[in-house]
């Protein structure tokens, strides 16, 4: 084996590799003065490096903690998105509520009041007098209640949407609450 090959093999052993010709290379080093000197001085350099003392380590963690923000920016960004989503849900939910109320008002005013008025007129015209007033009032009340029932029935899908959206909003609030940043002693150092 030539010197260059032997040194190549020994270098790969220094790198932590296994080598099939390791024994041969070592044999060469034993016989060759130049390679023996090379190997000895390399080992000496490595030993010196390994045995050099470790420096005392300062408290880097405390120094770093002083320079960090209270929470990681990534978590703040995520919370901003969640809050934006929450706000959107509430706006949509509020819109649904307003629409629902408008529909209800419309049903009540147009439907039942007109019905009630016409019924009252019919009854009063047919019988006249205060004696029939009670029946007229009962008739009007019946129409009002009927109109209200119809209004509620018509509002069903709107109310359902509103409930679903607001439940989603509630879930988002809970999520934000659970993942809220915790102010800890490390943040206060």
């Amino acid at each position: 084996m030539i010197c260059k090959s032997a040194q190549e093999i020994l270098n790969s052993i220094f790198d932590g590799d296994e080598h099939a010709l390791a024994a041969e290379a070592r044999e060469h080093v034993r016989e060759c003065d130049g390679c023996r000197e090379w190997y000895a001085s390399t080992m000496r350099a490595l030993d010196l490096m390994r045995s050099s003392p470790e420096p005392p380590v300062p408290d880097i963690a405390a120094m770093v903690a002083r320079r960090l923000p209270a929470v990681h920016p990534a978590s703040v960004a995520r919370q901003s998105w969640l809050l934006a989503g929450l706000a959107a849900c509430w706006v949509i939910g509020g819109g649904a509520l307003v629409i629902g109320l408008m529909v209800a008002m419309r049903w009540l005013s147009v439907g039942s009041i007109v019905h009630a008025y016409s019924s009252a007129r019919t009854i009063a015209g047919a019988f006249g007098g205060l004696a029939t007033a009670g029946r007229a009032v009962a008739e009007v009340a019946g129409h009002v209640l009927g109109g209200l029932g119809g209004a509620v029935a018509g509002l069903g899908p709107v109310l359902l949407t509103f409930v679903v959206i607001d439940l989603a909003g509630l879930a988002i609030i809970l999520l934000v609450w659970r993942r809220r940043p915790r102010i800890t002693s490390a943040c206060l150092i």
Partner: protein, 187 residues
């Protein structure tokens, strides 16, 4: 219960800074020693280590969970040290001058003269020899022999092929061998 590095990273990204504090405490010795062997000056090494952790903190979202945190962190520390030593190269050989001061201090501090002086002297010469290596070779050598990284991890951290890392290490060892040839080794 000991949490994995990936879990600590996840918690930190959710706003829990205590998790990052735990990561810093786990790796501060490794990062500081790496910086120390790269830069040679304790104060500057502490600054470089801090800077590395701060950079890591802000880049935490880009950390791949399947990667090893130590490798990723030392890559950042290595870039930080390289930037700092390049900036310093414009100035005088500050680290080497400081080393000479350290050696003088060491010699004057030691009560038993001969052995202690020899040890202090050889340690100083090792540090000086490492610091005088070209940046590329120094990084590979420090990672391998001081930080205990394997060839594959160094290859990942430095973004160099494994064979290139091996070649860098070989050259570094050879340069170091020549520089330290005359150093007394009795300890």
């Amino acid at each position: 219960m000991e949490l994995s590095d990936a879990e600590l990273v996840r918690r930190c990204l959710q706003g829990d800074n205590v998790s990052f504090d735990a990561l810093v405490r786990s790796y501060q010795k490794q990062v500081y020693c790496f910086c120390y062997h790269m830069l040679g000056i304790p104060e500057e090494s502490a600054d470089a280590a801090q800077e590395s952790f701060i950079k890591a903190y802000y880049a935490l979202a880009s950390f791949r969970r399947d990667a090893r945190f130590a490798t990723w962190l030392l890559k950042i520390a290595s870039n930080t040290c390289i930037d700092r030593s390049r900036a310093r190269a414009r100035r005088a050989n500050a680290a080497l001058e400081e080393l000479a001061d350290d050696a003088a201090a060491l010699q004057s501090d030691q009560p038993t003269p001969e052995e202690s002086v020899l040890r202090g002297e050889s340690d100083r010469m090792v540090r000086e020899a490492v610091l005088r290596l070209p940046e590329r070779h120094r990084t590979a050598l420090v990672m391998f022999h001081f930080s205990g990284f394997g060839i594959r991890e160094i290859s990942e951290a430095l973004g160099r092929p494994e064979n290139t890392v091996k070649s860098d290490l070989r050259v570094a060892r050879e340069m170091l061998r020549r520089k330290l040839e005359g150093v007394v080794t009795e300890r």
